[in-house]
Amino acid sequence: MSLATAEKLEDIKARNKELVDEVLEAYPAKAKKKRAKHLNQFDEGKPDCGVKSNVKSIPGVMTIRGCAYAGSKGVVWGPIKDMIHISHGPVGCGQYSWAARRNYYIGTTGIDTFVTMQFTSDFQEKDIVFGGDKKLAKIMDEIQELFPLNKGITVQSECPIGLIGDDIEAVSKSKSKEYDGKTIVPVRCEGFRGVSQSLGHHIANDAVRDWVFDKAGDKPAKFESTPYDVAIIGDYNIGGDAWSSRILLEEMGLRVIAQWSGDGSIAELEATPKAKLNVLHCYRSMNYISRHMEEKFGIPWVEYNFFGPSKIAESLRKIASHFDDKIKEGAERVIAKYQALMDDVIAKYRPRLEGKKVMLFVGGLRPRHVIGAYEDLGMEVVGTGYEFGHNDDYQRTTHYVKDGTLIYDDVTGYEFEKFVEKIEPDLVGSGIKEKYVFQKMGVPFRQMHSWDYSGPYHGYDGFAIFARDMDMAINAPVWKLAQTPWKN
């Protein structure tokens, strides 16, 4: 039973409007005026969701956003497994982002792969006063000495670097020369830059362009090209997502020559310009490099969505449309192969989840991407929003959301709490900072950044896990215990 039949659409819209007005009442005038532009609901037929986005968070409101360093080191570069990523500055940033994103990879950590390690220059006061360039140079020497199998180094700048005028580019260039042209990438992702993680993604993408592609030049790939070579762009292999995606692309007859950046390697980055097509999952964090490759190397790119059988089938066909009949047939074969599994999963879980309402607040792709997967299970997303989306994300969102869906951009702790209180969804999907807030309220919750330590959720294999987990959250007996019986 869908929400729209339970309540009339105009009632929902009136309630949403009232709710937004009510929430805004809590702000001082200046903040109220600003926040009003970020809260709205989707009206069918509009080209976007009617909210402003990608502007500064207002101070003091408990934004859920992170920073440019989180976007570069934490998201884009960190998962590249055979390079060493230096968190350059004070100790904290590297510590808090140490192995926290579950970017799975295969390798011998500390020997030939380094993803779940924390390399930092651990800035002290003297480094701030005298600059950190000498220390950085020495760090690179020590890395070469102690981790000889590293395939490259990146310098992930923390706030002080840009403020004290260090020249990390000069250090990187001279050390690269000293070490026979080793790839050393300076990244200017200081946390104060931009308004969220988003600029960090962009800066990280540009660093790949300037310090990996330009350097690699026409270095021949280690393999013979085939007409079916593709690269997975924007899958961070959280809980193994990229693996349960890759397997489908290979089953349909494509050859995946690179993964960006989950379980990725520098060789894969360098080989990507040889791809015939880039398939892009997280548009927000990697559209920049995809556009660059299209311009520079003429590689087309296509967005896809591997959440839930409906979107997976649609995406497989969309990807296949760029190739010949062999691949098109391959796509159909893959869809057919998994049909029985999908039928079983839906038969088992849909009856337990039918009609359940979900509110989401996630990062840069999932606020829209996972909606189809919920709908495959008979669930309904009644509110969604982006931590660091841009207007083009909200345009894309219109293809996913229903008329009257509540939209909240860069939601504040206060707003989110109030929305959930009033709308009473059966499930909230957001991050670790929100998880316990809603669970205290007795609302079932799943982390939709880290898959709540489960996963993968991508691909057909992942959908089975997704369905199981949503059932586990919503139908856990514990939530029935939340109300104290003698108080009601």
Partner: protein
């Protein structure tokens, strides 16, 4: 295809299926340009050698896997220990997302904290506007009783003046003039999270006792018979502070816990989210000036706070995270001395029970070698307990430990024959520890969650005691202080010892003659 709806395989099993193994093998061989396996193996073996250790210890600039965080984390930890208080961190906003995540991952609780969200323009012009708007927004939205301001490294590098900014914000009406906004500068490039804790605690008492940044009269101390207790930065704060309160209640001591975050990080699931819960009231924070004495449970978390309190006329005493019988004895006797209250029979009995438990299990711990890492005070507390158990601490490491700390640990070790073969490492990290565990192996490692990488690489069984503990649940709810806390630590250590024995004796017809049911 092995996935099926009846028995859903997630990452634990899915990727071990043949189709995935084949896929990953193919990926590596064709596209990753991997080092030859023999080469990887050679380097792996080389990292276990004394030669590698020498190079490793010769590091001067690089830090790998440190066991410390930055000042602002400790600042937040301290601030939420006061009633209705929201921490307000002046600087870049990403930092606050990190502190909140870090604490929520450890406590499995909400962690509320706001940022002034400074960006490029604030980097150029300073963050005054962010402070003015930020305080107003926080005050309106979250209705705190107090806003505790600290800084990130960005605000420190550009030199923002908190005192002036807060005054300015009050003049502009962000918050009422009389509203409490204590502050502390907490640069991330000085000290560690324990330094931040110290700075904020000092800042809060300075605020309440010394005339609220020149806006009111300084308080005049009128000594009374109560004592203050400061726990320090502590991953077990929930269980520990409750245990301390119980002990004080049993003794009949009049006391104030300063920075009591035991409730805010242990709120019920009952349909309501409590952003604030419990905590030291603002009145108590002010009144604490009149106490007879202040006890700090962790010397290195209060290196500035305690002298400040002493300077206001109180007697002060500090401990090093006491764990076990003797350390708890010393703590209780000091409390007794300061308050004139006798230690009741109830506690003597608890002591006897812990001694009894140690006696029952001593044979399994005696002579076992341990490596310990963590915050300076925790290392001291655990080392003392191990000596008491007849175990042999072998490596003790604190990334945020000072030379003075190392000397203190050495004195402790020198006091017992069981400490004879132990080395102390101040300012070293977990990659140093990795070398040590290869060249001078031990039976067990005690540390936080990050120690699991050492367990994997060196085969040293990890006993999780410290902060953060992300991959085990609810440990923070149990005390490690007091005799009962010592009991918890003892049981934690024993469980691991017995699990190891069983894992090493469970092969049928090979080793299972020792697979005993009675131990």
């Amino acid at each position: 295809m092995t996935q099926n709806a009846e028995n859903v395989l997630d990452h634990f099993d899915l990727f071990r299926q043949p189709e995935y193994k084949e896929m990953l093998k193919n990926k590596k061989e064709k596209f990753e340009d991997p080092h030859p396996e023999a080469e990887v193996e050679k380097i792996r073996e080389w990292t276990k050698t004394p030669e590698y250790q020498e190079k490793n210890f010769a590091r001067e600039a690089l830090t790998v896997n440190p066991a410390k965080a930055c000042q602002p984390l400790g600042a937040v930890f301290a601030a939420v220990g006061f009633e209705g208080t929201i921490p307000f961190v002046h600087g870049s906003q990403g930092c606050v997302a990190y502190y909140r995540s870090h604490f929520s991952r450890h406590f499995k609780e909400p962690s509320s904290c706001v940022s002034s969200s400074m960006t490029e323009d604030a980097a150029v012009f300073g963050g005054l506007n962010n402070m003015v708007d930020g305080l107003a927004n926080t005050y309106s939205l979250y209705e705190p009783k107090m806003i505790s301001v600290s800084t990130t490294c960005m605000a420190e590098v550009i030199g923002d003046d908190l005192n002036a900014f807060i005054k300015n914000a009050k003049e502009k009406g962000s918050v009422p003039q009389e509203f409490d906004v204590p502050f502390a500068h907490t640069p991330a490039f000085v000290g560690s999270h324990i330094t931040g804790y110290d700075n904020v605690m000092k800042g809060i008492f300075e605020h309440f006792w010394d005339g609220k940044a020149g806006t009111t009269e300084k308080l005049e101390r009128k000594p009374n018979d109560s004592i203050n207790f400061i726990g320090g930065f502590d991953g077990y704060t929930v269980g520990n502070l409750r245990e301390i309160k119980r002990i004080f209640d049993v003794m009949g001591v009049e006391y104030t816990i300063l920075g009591d975050n035991s409730d805010v990080w242990d709120t019920p699931t009952d349909g309501e989210f409590r952003m604030y819960d419990g905590g030291t009231t603002l009145e108590e924070a002010a009144e604490s000036l009149h106490a007879k004495a202040t006890i700090s449970m962790q010397e290195y978390c209060t290196e500035k706070t305690l002298p400040f309190i002493k300077g206001h006329g109180q007697e002060v005493a500090s401990f090093n995270h006491p764990v076990g019988v003797s350390a708890t004895d010393k703590f209780l006797m000091e409390v007794s001395r300061l308050t004139g209250k006798e230690i009741p029979e109830e506690l003597a009995k608890e002591r006897g029970r812990l001694v009894d438990a140690i006696g029952d299990s001593s044979a399994h711990i005696h002579g076992k070698k341990f490596a310990i890492y963590g915050d300076p005070d925790l290392c001291l507390g655990l080392a003392g307990f191990l000596l008491e158990l007849g175990a042999e601490p072998t490596h003790i490491l604190a990334t945020n430990g000072s030379k003075g700390w190392a000397k203190k640990v050495q004195e402790l070790l020198d006091s017992s024959p069981y400490g004879a073969n132990c080395h102390v490492y101040a300012g070293k990290d977990l990659w140093h520890m990795r070398s040590l565990l290869f060249t001078e192996p031990v039976d067990f490692l005690i540390g936080n969650t990050y120690g699991k990488y050492l367990e994997r690489d060196t085969g040293t069984p990890l006993i999780r005691i410290g902060f953060p503990v992300f991959d085990r649940h609810h440990h923070h709810r149990r005390p490690v202080w007091g005799y009962q806390g010592g009991m918890n630590v003892l049981i934690t250590i024993l469980d691991k010892i017995f699990d190891e024995i069983d894992q090493n004796t469970n092969v049928p017809a090979k080793s299972d003659f020792s697979f005993d049911i009675i131990r």
